[in-house]
């Protein structure tokens, strides 16, 4: 089963390599990995998408927790979460009818054309995996020159009940 694991780490050099090395060294699979700093500039958030049965995921999480630079590990798959990825798609649009078709598709998907040359458009899109796959499939007949995709980033949805309770407590206090 696919799992999205969110890892909060110390923002030190080599930390991404430690996390990635853990996966490769133990034969665990990485489907995608992305990393960026958080609000606190001394930490970074790494999002890893991986596959495995319960036993493997348990081992992955334990091993991640064991890394000295890892502050917190969350398996988002156990929660309600929002996941996004982004892609830049460069398409051939030499003929005028291709250009209008490209613009139409871009609009349907709420994507944007971010660069244009006489023979190409470059389209920017964000969304979940299905949405990105869908736009790629529609653009393919025009002729795709190049695609670059980020890995997934994910965040847990705020627990509505809990937030409400906390607000209530605040009001009462």
């Amino acid at each position: 089963m696919q799992h999205i694991i969110s890892i909060l780490v110390e923002n030190k050099f080599g930390v991404l390599s430690r996390v990635a090395g853990l996966f490769s060294g133990r034969g665990f699979n990485i489907e995608s990995i992305s990393v960026g700093t958080t609000l606190d500039s001394s930490t970074s958030q790494i999002t890893v998408v991986t596959m495995g049965d319960d036993r493997i995921i348990e081992q992955i999480i334990k091993h991640l927790n064991k890394l000295i630079d890892v502050i917190k590990v969350i398996d988002l798959s156990e929660k309600d979460y929002i996941v996004r990825e982004a892609a830049l798609i460069k398409i051939h649009t030499s003929r005028p009818e291709d250009r209008s078709e490209a613009l139409r598709i871009t609009e349907i998907f709420r994507a944007r054309v971010v660069d244009s040359t006489p023979s190409t458009y470059t389209v920017e899109i964000t969304g979940d995996e299905n949405k990105i796959e869908a736009i790629i499939n529609l653009l393919r007949p025009l002729g795709i020159k190049e695609i670059v995709r980020t890995g997934k980033i994910a965040i847990a949805r705020e627990d509505m009940k809990q937030t409400a309770m906390q607000e209530l407590k605040k009001v009462r206090a």
């Binding site: 780490v9 110390e10 050099f13 080599g14 390599s17 430690r18 090395g21 060294g25 036993r55 348990e58 081992q59 334990k62 091993h63 927790n65 064991k66 000295i68 630079d69 890892v70 502050i71």
Partner: protein
């Protein structure tokens, strides 16, 4: 007070209580060695190879129970320590390895003697640092010692660029370490401990299976209490030897591939296995699906990744082995009421174990014509009164030592368990002798493994270390030869060592006393002479070249499917038959 990075390093090591550092100098660490030149409270021991330095620091740590320290130069000096680091990593030994690095502005330029040692050692250290500013050096050293010696111990590497050693700053050694991302669990879950106590009292056929964690957390006293209080038989892993007295009536011997019949059968038939500071290594479990098939498992370990890695555990307890055992023993004592009756109900279990012990004790065919390797080990045990540190190397002799030297105390068995590093024994003995200068230290090696770090004879000679080196000389890489004999149709490919040096003359070349025995009648006299000699002695025992380690669980088989010396022939015939069958279906 302003100090240079080199001075800060040495002062920090002293503040950590380091008295001995093993290593070799080189270009980028000259500033550090310049500080060492006038240093009186910190011994620097020059080894002849950086691998030797790392193993010596490892042996020191195992014998002393505190981190060993190695100091080497950049590039080849650093990469030469990698095997030593990986070895310590597998066996969870606290080690601090300080490597020189080229100046920060040169890093990444393929400078002379540059290697990305932080990158190279990332998978085989517990943690590693590249020091980028002299201001963070003291804090880095404090953290390195803290990480190496707490939680599940392990090696930590500090890569120190040349310009940092030379830069100056105010020196202040931090008193405390606080790392938000590193918080080992030291105390076991109370409820789980209660569950474990209940399970232990209720068990009809319990066995304790303890490993190196017992020694690392200094818990052998607590282990003994647990076993004696509840009369539970104990088996140890290779790494656990000495963690429970080898002469104790409850001791079953080692388990696993070359373990005793009683230990393996006890685990196989147990209804409760209490795993303590051990990690279910494949050399221990044999075929995992048939390891203790009737048992419930309690597993105590400080490292949660060890739990449920290979085996389903019913009662996992994460925590320091010693702390957990203290609590567990306390809990068991409160459940006093009918202990004696419960223990009495286990009588059939004890008599079954006695039967196994009687049926297949550790043994070998004695001879008065050719020296049997096991006989040499028995004599070393007998003549030293068992009161010695034995650093063994890796191979057949290692297993014979594990079987026939009855370690009674922790930190006296020094051996490469996880990585199986040939060449470990000689430098490790050096480290152990520095850690325990008053103890009798043996290095038992095979003729194959001995040659892997033979240059360290010089370190022994120069430092006049009274180490007694024992070479079990069978003219081959014995364990490889044994596997080829049993499972590869006696094709002795690459395992026979021809044109061996004369080890006695070799010892003499280093001004070390050399002795040789070729006949069983000479064995005792030579060991006595070695023990009574003040300095180092090398003993070359020319042993039966055909002797094998038994009992044995073939790789991939269940522990209950052991083969003994007498049944080895049928195994050979079987593999030969299999081979023939395979050959017959091949096209001509």
């Amino acid at each position: 007070m302003k100090m240079s990075g080199a001075e800060i390093l040495i002062e920090s090591l002293k503040k950590e209580g380091v008295d001995t550092v093993f290593g070799m100098p080189g270009g980028v660490v000259l500033q550090i060695f310049d500080v060492l030149y006038n240093e009186k409270n910190l011994k620097f021991i020059l080894t002849r190879h950086e691998q030797g330095a790392a193993h010596a620091a490892d042996g020191y740590a195992r014998a002393k129970g505190k981190p060993g320290v190695a100091l080497v130069t950049s590039g080849p000096g650093a990469t030469n320590t990698v095997t030593g680091i990986a070895n310590a990593h597998m066996d969870s030994i606290p080690l601090i390895v300080i490597t020189g690095q080229v100046a920060t502005r040169m890093i990444g330029n393929d400078a002379f003697q540059e290697a990305d040692i932080v990158g190279i050692t990332r998978p085989c250290t517990k943690y590693n640092f590249l020091v980028k500013s002299v201001d963070e050096l003291a804090k880095t050293i404090k953290e390195a010692f803290y990480i190496a010696s707490t939680g599940r111990p392990g090696p930590v590497l500090i890569d120190l660029p040349k310009d940092i050693s030379g830069a100056r700053t105010d020196f202040e050694y931090p008193e405390k370490v606080s790392m938000r991302s590193y918080n080992p669990t030291y105390y076991g879950n109370k409820w789980q401990i209660k569950q474990a106590a209940q399970a232990i009292l209720r068990a009809k056929r319990p066995v304790i299976y303890a490993g190196g964690g017992v020694i690392l957390s200094n818990a052998s006293g607590e282990l003994k209490e647990l076993a004696e209080l509840n009369r539970i038989p104990v088996t140890l892993t290779l790494m656990g030897l000495g963690g429970f007295p080898g002469t104790h009536p409850l001791f079953l011997g080692m388990l696993g591939m070359h373990g005793t019949y009683a230990a393996n059968m006890s685990v196989h038939d147990a209804d409760l296995v209490i795993a303590i500071g051990s990690r279910f290594d494949d050399r221990v479990t044999g075929k995992v699906s048939e390891f203790a098939p009737k048992a419930k498992f309690i597993h105590i370990d400080i490292d949660p990744t060890n739990i449920r890695k290979n085996i389903h555990v019913d009662i996992p307890i994460v925590g320091d082995v010693r702390n957990v055992l203290v609590e567990l023993n306390k809990e068991l004592k409160t459940l006093e009421e009918n202990r004696n009756q419960l223990i009495r109900e286990r009588d059939p279990w004890y008599s079954q174990i006695k039967e196994w012990e009687k049926g297949h004790p550790l043994s070998y065919k004695k001879s008065n014509k050719v020296i049997k390797p096991q006989y040499v080990i028995e004599k070393i045990y007998e003549l030293s009164g068992g009161d010695a540190i034995v650093a063994s190397d890796v191979g057949q002799h290692q297993m014979w030592v594990a079987q026939f030297f009855k370690y009674d105390r922790p930190r006296t068995s020094i051996t490469s368990g996880g990585l199986g590093t040939m060449g470990f024994g000689l430098p490790a003995a050096i480290g152990a002798q520095f850690a325990c200068p008053d103890k009798l230290v043996f290095n038992v090696a095979g003729d194959g493994s001995f040659q892997m770090n033979v240059q360290e004879l010089a370190t022994i000679a120069v430092n006049k270390l009274p180490i007694k080196i024992v070479i079990i000389n069978n003219g081959s890489l014995g364990m490889v030869r044994q596997w080829q004999e049993l499972f590869f149709n006696q094709h002795y490919s690459g395992s026979i060592i021809k044109d061996m040096p004369d080890y006695v003359k070799l010892a003499e070349a280093y001004s070390i006393k050399g002795l040789r025995a070729t006949n069983p009648s000479e064995v005792e006299g030579i060991i006595k002479e070695a023990i009574n000699t003040d300095g180092p002695v090398l003993m070359d025992f020319i042993v039966d070249p055909g002797e094998n380690v038994f009992p044995m669980v073939p790789a991939g088989a269940a522990n209950s499917e052991m083969i003994f010396g007498e049944s080895a022939k049928s195994v050979k015939d079987k593999t030969a038959a299999k081979k023939e069958k395979k050959n017959s279906v091949l096209p001509a």
